[in-house]
């Protein structure tokens, strides 16, 4: 009986010696790392923020001249990381210094179509609707949606110049001015 007791004490001593340091059972942990990417679009930089069309009238009869070439500017470095919508809004070229309404047969406005291309395969375009005084009675814009993320250059070009009434002469003014606004926005409905 005494011998058995000693044996147990020795065995206890051995166990004590093996676990002199903290002795824990094997274990594991899994850490989950999460992140998010917000939907974003960024319109890049304009090669030029101004398009100068020069002399607009015909020197022989004072009507709208034929605008040579396709006036344009480029926006480089644009991207969207989700579906997007490109919107273009243009306003007519209007004589800034000419006061009041022009006489019959004359106009102080030139209309045109502004187009944004290169953002996907579709072209967003908007045509101005100015009357002879340059006023527009209805709002308008052009847009296109793109379902996939896109990174590309956008070309903004002008075409289809016209006067409110065919054959109108343009009033003299050193500054005819219009604006084109291009907006790039995320389009959640088109996100992949």
């Amino acid at each position: 009986m005494e011998q058995k007791l000693l044996t147990l004490v020795v065995a206890g001593g051995i166990l004590t010696g093996l676990c002199a340091a903290p002795c824990l059972a094997a274990d594991s942990a899994t850490i989950t790392v999460k992140g998010t990417v917000g939907s974003a679009c960024r319109l890049g930089d304009l090669s030029s923020s101004q398009i100068d069309l020069g002399q607009l009238s015909n020197n022989t009869d004072g009507t709208l001249a034929s605008i040579s070439g396709t006036p344009s500017t480029t926006i480089t470095g644009s991207w969207c990381n989700t579906g997007s919508k490109i919107i273009i809004v243009a306003s007519p070229l209007v004589a800034q210094g000419f006061a009041g309404a022009p006489s019959s047969g004359f106009t102080k406005a030139v209309n045109y179509t502004a187009s944004a291309s290169g953002w996907g395969s579709a072209i967003a375009s908007d045509t101005t609707l100015g009357n002879s005084s340059g006023a527009e009675s209805t709002s308008h814009s052009g847009s296109q949606t793109l379902n996939d993320p896109e990174a590309n250059a956008i070309t903004v070009s002008l075409s289809s110049f016209s006067t409110p009434a065919s054959g109108d002469r343009l009033v003299a003014d050193s500054d005819y001015e219009g604006t084109i606004t291009v907006t790039l926005a995320t389009n959640a409905a088109g996100s992949p």
Binding site: G38, G62, G97, R169, E177, V182, A185
Partner: protein, 176 residues
């Protein structure tokens, strides 16, 4: 342990906040389109001769009605596109330059030229300003076959026989 976990969560939240996209979801650019239109004027009329039959009556005095003609008849289109355009008019009286009148006779007939260029009334009296330039602000206008009506001044003198000639010069000057 719970305390440690809360501290770690706070740290992760701080990192997420720092690394969130800094781009706006909507971006736009505005492009200015410019052009200009120079001031112009034009008229179809380059020169015209109006021939008037005998301007005297049976008493040898002026038949005023005979001189009442439209000097710009069939002159075509006149136009200017500038707000500061002007018409300059210079007219001389009817005159028989080869004659020297004696008492009771005259070799000159004055008249008033009147009309409208666009919406601008024009009146030129040769008795008052004959032979000098008179300016009229006509602005932006477009007139087709405007009227330049001649109305002779009355005179009690008899007219010396011969040819009588008057000259009217119209000049349109563009101004923006």
């Amino acid at each position: 342990m719970l305390k440690t976990s809360l501290a770690a969560s706070a740290a992760v939240a701080a990192i997420v906040a720092l690394s969130s996209p800094v781009y706006a979801n909507n971006t736009s650019a505005t492009i200015t389109v410019n052009g200009s239109v120079g001031a112009q004027c034009s008229m179809d009329l380059t020169s015209q001769t109006v021939t008037i039959p005998d301007i005297t009556g049976s008493d040898g005095r002026l038949n005023q009605a005979a001189l009442n003609v439209n000097a710009l008849s069939g002159g075509g289109e006149f136009w200017c596109n500038g707000a500061n355009s002007k018409l300059t008019l210079n007219a001389t009286p009817f005159k028989n330059a080869s004659a020297t009148p004696s008492t009771g006779f005259t070799n000159v007939v004055n008249y008033t030229l009147s009309g409208t260029m666009g919406s601008t009334p024009v009146s030129y009296d040769t008795a008052a300003v004959g032979g000098t330039n008179q300016d009229y602000s006509v602005g932006v206008f477009d007139s087709t076959n405007p009227t330049g009506q001649i109305s002779a001044d009355a005179t009690s003198d008899r007219l010396i026989a011969g040819g009588y000639t008057a000259s009217l010069t119209l000049t349109l000057t563009p101004g923006a």
